[in-house]
Symmetry: C2
Subunit: 423 residues, 2 copies
């Protein structure tokens, strides 16, 4: 007997037919002798509808009342799945965030989960009941409803799995696992059987939108084994026996045989490049560039400082280039222009037609040459590298947006990731 | 300074524009120096939508989970009204049934309100906050959500008013008050300034669908002054300054000058007449007719036992006629036919083309002749009376359905209720 958390997203909960399919899938895990808690999202579109109501009521809505409104979506699907389970002979009950309770801080609309009481839940599971738990919601110490921010149901599922000491947290999504890269770009992309938390974090944060980043971080911290697998065999088909998905695990669970040098290639077109020209080359000058951005809560990613150039008779100066999320470009420009006097740059040049392409893999820790293979491969196809950043398990380059797909394809081949047949 | 409960129904909460109108109406009461709690329904149509989901999930749904699902409708409007109030500068917060809490028994889907804790609420009101409270919901002692049954928000409002010791409970509805009779039938019907609890109970239970009957009974028991008034000046117009509605009060609040012999004329076409012929005229025979109906939880209303007739050489027998709600007719026939051996009737005849017309008024307690005026008036127009029932403050007759409007009109005139001009 194992303890399993199963999490279903909004597409899986969209309508009675699909809720019945989910119930049937849950029943199979129960029939296999497992104790099961199910974490559910609101019906697809419902959270948007509720958020829309709040905005109509007031653009500057009180986040405490917003949480009361939007938490209703998951409350509805929790009750409905409990009913659907009972209808096929599976004892089940819903446990709302305040009923367990799932304690959170009081950062309404973006709360963080603290402790989860599992006393009552454990008794219910031991009595053979399936627990149906709304994702995305919790309760503050003073008894007010909170929500975790959009996509928070993945985090709820992982937090429940940690609190329940579950053997596995199965996240059912629109995709059937994590691939070596986007199969729409590389038809020969392979589904990964296993990926480490750290790799998943890098893959998620650079564009593989399978799991909410925060949920992966929490899984790593709490050592929860997460499986990503598909809720659907086709667009509207009822769920058939599920194919194996991708297990997200600690590095120690990856055997030497399984370990690859590179696990996957990610890309992200949502970056913007900013260059400040002729920044005075003196101590503290570069810090003065990034302070106003940090104050505006803008996340700076890749940074390059060009070689200082010196004109006759003037102080030396340098160009500073960096990337920010494209959505924050306008705010970044505003913050930098306001600090222009303090920084002392000549011009601000920006470009949104850039993309970040990253090769990711824990294997590169023990292998040199990953970066040079990347640069050589891109150079051979005439792809110009505008910036580079590296971490222990990742090398990222900034290139022109139009060359993204080409870069991903040639790197996928160069690192030996192509499957024998198209996915 | 007064304490006021304001209750708004689903039509008033249907959409952001209307919620803003409600907020503006609430603001006027706050500006007048009152402490205000607002009880809200779900958006019009929303409860039906949620009930529909439950039925689709399973026709035999668990009422505990049904309550989790349908309570979400009022949760949403509570949060939205709190946001809309804050947006116009009125401090406000929502209090869900489990947050106050509003204790109920555990008769899920038709729970009854017990105690309501008002400690936290009192502090919030004293601090100048408007309390927004979802109608229709409460919580059991073991922390599960309950609902009160359809239309329960009126009851929630009256229960809140009683618990808060409110000076008044204003129920905003689609109509602008209680009339002497249905103005669609009698254009000269008059709006009543005051009506007693008992009269309102009789008027509500016989067809004046203004307030849920249970809420009136509770108001009488707890001596809550209830005012019925209109949320709208027109179909979609924003709420203008509200016209005075109808106050529902204890009999002691009606002065002698205000007291009428007859307060109103009600009618109800949702009755069905059943006649059992040749029931043996012996002790216990009539009881045997009503036992199976009581066992099936069917409410029998008017009862007439005709004069016994005796055929030569046989035991005497009698015809028994009574009415049941038309919706329960099929079940009634089934229950009676199953008990046919025990009752021993010859034939079962039924008729749904009947209507009950009632004259109601506390004044008739001290005046004879009310019933005879009714019979004379109807008789003069050739309207045949099929059954009669009376209470201290009501005389009802059963007539042919086609004669309903005629009967209501002639009685309205006969008792001097016609206004000078059409309503």
């Amino acid at each position: 007997m194992a303890r399993i958390v199963m999490k279903f997203g909004g597409t899986s909960m969209a309508g009675s037919e699909r809720i019945r399919s989910v119930a049937a899938r849950v029943k199979r895990e129960v029939a296999a002798g497992n104790q099961v808690a199910v974490v559910v999202s609101a019906m697809a579109g419902e959270t948007d509808r509720l958020v829309g109501f709040c905005r109509e009521a007031s653009p500057l809505y009180d986040p405490r009342e917003y949480d009361v409104v939007v938490a209703a979506g998951e409350q509805v699907t929790s009750g409905l799945l409990a009913i659907a389970l009972q209808a096929i002979g599976v004892p089940a009950r819903s446990w709302l965030g305040w009923q367990l309770p799932i304690h959170t801080d009081d950062a309404h609309a973006k709360a963080r989960i603290g402790e989860i009481d599992t006393g009552a839940l454990d008794a219910s599971l031991a009595a053979g009941e399936v627990a149906v738990i709304p994702g995305f919601q919790g309760v503050t110490d003073d008894g007010r409803i909170t929500t975790l921010g959009r996509g928070g149901s993945d985090t709820s599922a992982v937090a429940m799995a940690a609190a329940m000491k579950a053997d596995r947290c199965d996240i059912y999504t629109d995709v059937d696992g994590v691939y070596t890269t986007d199969p729409r770009i590389v038809p020969r992309a392979r589904k990964l059987a296993k990926v480490t938390y750290e790799e998943m974090l890098e893959l998620a944060s650079v564009g593989a939108k399978v799991l909410q980043t925060r949920s992966v971080g929490l899984a790593m911290k709490k050592n929860v084994r997460v499986q990503v697998l598909s809720s659907f065999t086709g667009e509207d088909a009822p769920m058939a026996d599920t194919l194996p998905g991708t297990m997200i695990v600690g590095e120690e669970e990856i055997t030497d045989v399984e370990r690859q040098l590179i696990t996957g290639i990610a890309h992200d077109k949502n970056e913007a490049k900013i260059t400040l020209t002729a920044v005075p080359d003196k101590p503290g000058a570069v810090a003065s560039v990034f302070e106003p951005l940090a104050a505006a809560n803008i996340n700076v990613d890749m940074i390059i400082q060009n070689i200082a150039h010196q004109s006759a008779g003037s102080a030396s100066a340098t160009d500073v280039t960096f990337t920010v999320p494209a959505a924050d470009l306008a705010r970044s420009i505003e913050a930098l222009n306001q600090a222009r006097g303090a920084i002392g740059f000549a011009d601000l040049v920006h470009d949104t037609r850039v993309a970040k392409v990253s090769v990711v893999g824990v294997g590169m820790r023990s292998h040199a040459g990953v970066a040079s293979t990347m640069f050589t491969t891109l150079g051979a196809r005439g792809i110009n590298i505008q910036a580079i950043s590296t971490s222990e398990i990742k090398v990222s380059v900034l290139i022109h947006e139009d060359e993204t797909e080409l870069a991903v394809r040639v790197l996928h081949t160069a690192y030996g990731l192509d499957a024998e047949e198209a996915a």
